[in-house]
């Protein structure tokens, strides 16, 4: 197929060609960036929480008298353990995807000169380390005498387990075991390293900080009360949680059950990422609508061209062009226009990505998205032009002889 005559014909319809190309370019830019946004949103929802999510649930109480916390803990732990199917119950200050409870800045020296970052503290009573299902990669798990009483929101001189990511951030390349850090006056010593444990309420400071958490063994008491981690067989968990919620009314009539927070971890996670999934859905809808509108534009303009040129098509057919020749002519023409649009669109996509990077702290658009976007638009263009092109191919040669 010769390209020269097609280009010559397009020159006659410069404006319309330019319009379609610009539309394709814009569509290409939005398509690449929207796809990238969808993928990064969905990737966020895939983060590794580091815990046995499917087997865990939370019961959260509020409104109880702080002075009676120790008594409340005793009643709750005892009462919940009696529920059939319950594997373990422990007091914990927070869980991933729940409300955040222990966020603080840490320093690597006592004087507070070397700032380490803002991290999340998980304060857990006996049994919670195992119940969470945290995977130890170095050092040791908490032992019985590690669980010390709290006299404020953090225990003193506590042996703690840090995540691998946090250890690498605080002491790059070094063995974290035995290292120390401070949060204001409180001192912590690393005795174990865990594979991962996601933060309570997202990363303050970007997605790379999502694993910046430590597990601190602590004795339930006045500063660790009202929030309980339940573990049961995943198949039985919904029933166990239902029983637990019902039992709370009898065990702790003085407290108010927080219905929003008392959920299975799966449910909490689902809710936590609801906005991200909704956004991904909206973006997907926009992409579909965008492709549809672009396709309709191509169909409309191509039909117009076919009508305009029906006489020329007739002449070509009369002097020997086959139906296939006519079909291919329009297909090639569309391919050329779309390619021009894509070339422009890639530049636009890159520019749009720069703007997004500036205002939404998005990473750079991986180059892979550009060929994928281009391929999509090429296919779309060919599909859209197929109808009008077939109609063009169906123009009988006899048209050439009319009204000349």
């Amino acid at each position: 197929m010769q390209i020269q005559p097609i280009l010559a014909a397009l020159r006659k319809y410069r404006l319309a060609t330019l319009l379609i190309a610009l539309e394709i370019a814009l569509a290409c830019a939005v398509l690449c960036n929207a796809c990238f946004l969808i993928v990064s949103r969905l990737r966020q929802t895939q983060i590794d929480s580091g815990i046995d999510q499917r087997a865990l649930a939370v019961i959260k109480l509020s409104g109880f008298d702080e002075a009676g916390s120790i008594d409340l803990n005793a009643r709750m732990l005892d009462g919940l353990r009696r529920i059939p199917g319950m594997q373990s119950v422990g007091a914990i200050n927070a869980v991933p995807f729940g409300q955040h409870a222990g966020t603080a800045g840490i320093t690597l020296d006592q004087a507070g000169q070397h700032f380490g970052g803002v991290i999340d503290f998980y304060l857990g009573g006996p049994g919670t380390f195992e119940a969470l299902g945290l995977r130890l990669v170095a050092g040791r798990a908490p032992q019985a005498d590690d669980f010390r009483p709290l006299n404020h929101f953090e225990p003193d001189d506590a042996p703690v387990m840090v995540t691998r990511t946090l250890a690498e951030h605080l002491w790059p390349g070094a063995d974290p075991l035995g290292k120390e850090f401070w949060s204001d006056h409180d001192h912590f010593r690393v005795v174990g390293v865990i594979a991962s444990l996601a933060r309570q309420d997202g990363g303050e400071g970007g997605p790379e900080t999502i694993q910046w958490s430590v597990f601190v063994p602590a004795q339930p008491g006045m500063y660790l009360a009202g929030n309980y981690l339940l573990r049961a067989d995943p198949a039985q968990l919904p029933r166990v949680l239902r029983d637990a919620r019902a039992a709370v009314v009898k065990i702790a009539p003085d407290a108010v059950l927080d219905n929003q927070a008392s959920q299975t971890l799966d449910e909490l996670r689902l809710r936590y990422f609801r906005a991200d999934r909704a956004m991904a859905g909206i973006l997907l809808g926009v992409i579909v609508a965008l492709l549809l509108v672009t396709a309709l534009g191509i169909v409309g303009l191509a039909s117009f061209w076919v009508t305009q040129r029906s006489k020329q098509i007739g002449i070509r057919r009369a002097i020997g062009a086959t139906r296939g020749d006519i079909l291919r002519y329009f297909q090639t023409e569309n391919f050329l226009i779309v390619s021009f649009g894509i070339a422009l669109g890639m530049l636009l996509a890159y520019g749009l990505n720069l703007a997004l990077m500036r205002f939404y702290e998005l990473p750079r658009l991986p180059l892979l998205y550009l060929p994928v976007g281009a391929l999509t638009l090429w296919c779309l263009g060919q599909l859209a032009v197929l109808g009008p092109a077939r109609r063009a191919a169906a123009v009988p040669p006899v048209v050439a002889t009319r009204s000349v």
């Binding site: 569509a27 404020h152 204001d184 997202g202 906005a275 965008l290 534009g297 169909v299 117009f304």
Partner: protein, 439 residues
């Protein structure tokens, strides 16, 4: 003449139904998407106190005693700074604010206890923020001073507990303390909940919670100190060494809002807080005496980037989408007008000027815009319905008001006229002779 053009336009549109439908659809989809997001934007970026937002200010000081590098005040104040600034009564009106979730039950009402969001504030809060009352009235400055056990409750809570009846004079139990209802608010839903906004720059764009409903129970600030104790929501602490009393502890948890009616007063108040910080530095309580700041209400909302990041992103997306739809319409209109070259040639030959042909084409584009606007309005209603189904705090706020309804049609017609401009110009340049020859 316009009537004639309209008639011509309708005839022309009727002749090529498919092409007309395509154009109307393109405009409708573009307008629908952009108006949905613009409406959400319009509602979220509105002025929460339209009558006097320019006179409301948010003073800040930095009470941290650590000689670190921190050079920005905290978003809230410690108890001592806030109450001392408040007690000076240097502003036209001033309100302290601290929030807490407390257990609440109503004696004589057959409902289990619930956790209620409460706000401890001072008497000026209600007139200062134009809070509407349904029954009763706010408490007085005297009640503030005497630590009176009185509360004002929201319309929502009044409906839930008392079925909407006049509950003034009834008693509630808040965390063990009996309080008497003196006022019930009329429905009140400022957008955003401006007086509680803080910490937006740490929220990573997830600021939908700024649009939640106002608290259910309002009580005098001093009475709150007796009732709430250390259950107040704390913004942050600069040290973990906590005493038993939040009021003397190293934490920030109180906000101060002031109303300043003239520019001179604003300047004077800035000087006042600067002088206060200097004085506290002299006393050894502050280290960062120059860290004072006072933004107006709207500046404070901007500073906190109150509009959620996702909403802003969606708005840009909607505009990009509208742009693509416009390109599409330009292309289709071009096809449509040029297809009628012969007809236009005849009109020109019969004496129509370029201007009349241009006007005729624009009228046709405008009619398409109007039709697209109707479609866009329907799609925007659908889009807003979808937004309302999202699990976000502002879902119940989202509706199409009269200005946005008119804007839908305005935008649709403006967009189609803009899109029609180029094709109309092309059509008006058609040379009659060439067209007549081919007839």
């Amino acid at each position: 003449m316009f009537g004639y053009y309209l008639d011509l336009a309708l005839r022309s549109l009727k002749r090529h139904r498919a092409l007309t439908a395509l154009m109307v659809l393109a405009i409708a989809v573009g307008i629908g998407a952009s108006m949905t997001m613009l409406t959400v934007m319009h509602i979220l970026s509105g002025d929460p106190v339209p009558t006097r937002s320019s006179t409301l200010f948010f003073p800040q000081v930095n009470p941290s005693p650590a000689p670190g590098e921190r050079h920005a005040p905290f978003d809230m104040m410690d108890y001592r700074s806030a109450t001392e600034l408040w007690s000076a009564h240097r502003a036209d009106r001033q309100a302290l604010i601290a929030s807490a979730a407390l257990k609440l039950n109503a004696p004589g009402v057959n409902l289990p206890p619930l956790m209620a969001q409460t706000l401890s504030t001072t008497a000026d809060f209600f007139p200062m923020f134009d809070v509407p009352f349904r029954y009763g009235d706010a408490w007085t400055a005297q009640d503030d001073a005497q630590r009176a056990r009185v509360v004002v409750i929201s319309d929502d809570l009044n409906n839930k507990l008392f079925g909407g009846a006049d509950s003034v004079g009834r008693t509630l139990r808040l965390k063990g303390a009996d309080v008497r209802i003196v006022g019930v608010l009329a429905p009140w839903r400022p957008s955003p909940l401006f007086y509680d906004v803080a910490g937006g720059r740490y929220a990573e764009g997830q600021t939908a919670s700024f649009y939640s409903k106002p608290e259910d129970v309002f009580m005098p600030f001093n009475s709150g100190q007796d009732i709430v104790g250390h259950d107040y929501n704390v913004f942050t602490c600069w040290s973990t060494a906590q005493g038993s009393d939040l009021r003397t502890g190293p934490c920030v948890w109180v906000m101060l809002w002031v109303q300043l009616d003239s520019v001179a007063k604003v300047g004077a108040y800035r000087d006042f807080i600067a002088a206060y910080a200097q004085q506290q530095k002299a006393l050894g309580r502050f280290v960062h005496a120059d860290d004072t700041r006072m933004m107006s209400l709207l500046q404070w909302l901007d500073f906190n980037r109150a509009i959620p990041g996702d909403v802003r992103l969606q708005t840009w997306l909607a505009f990009a989408f509208l742009l693509i739809c416009l390109f599409n319409t330009v292309g289709l209109l071009l096809a449509k007008f040029l297809r009628r070259s012969g007809e236009i040639g005849v009109r020109r030959a019969l004496g129509a000027s370029r201007g009349t042909v241009f006007a005729q084409c624009l009228v046709e584009a405008g009619v398409i815009g109007l039709l697209g606007g109707i479609g866009g309005w329907l799609l925007a209603m659908l889009g807003l319905w979808l937004v309302r189904r999202q699990p976000v705090e502002y879902a119940d706020l989202v509706h199409l008001d009269v200005p946005m309804f008119l804007a839908t049609f305005g935008l649709a017609i403006a967009a189609s006229l803009l899109a029609g401009m180029l094709p109309a110009l092309r059509a008006s340049r058609i040379t009659p002779a060439l067209q007549l020859k081919t007839l």
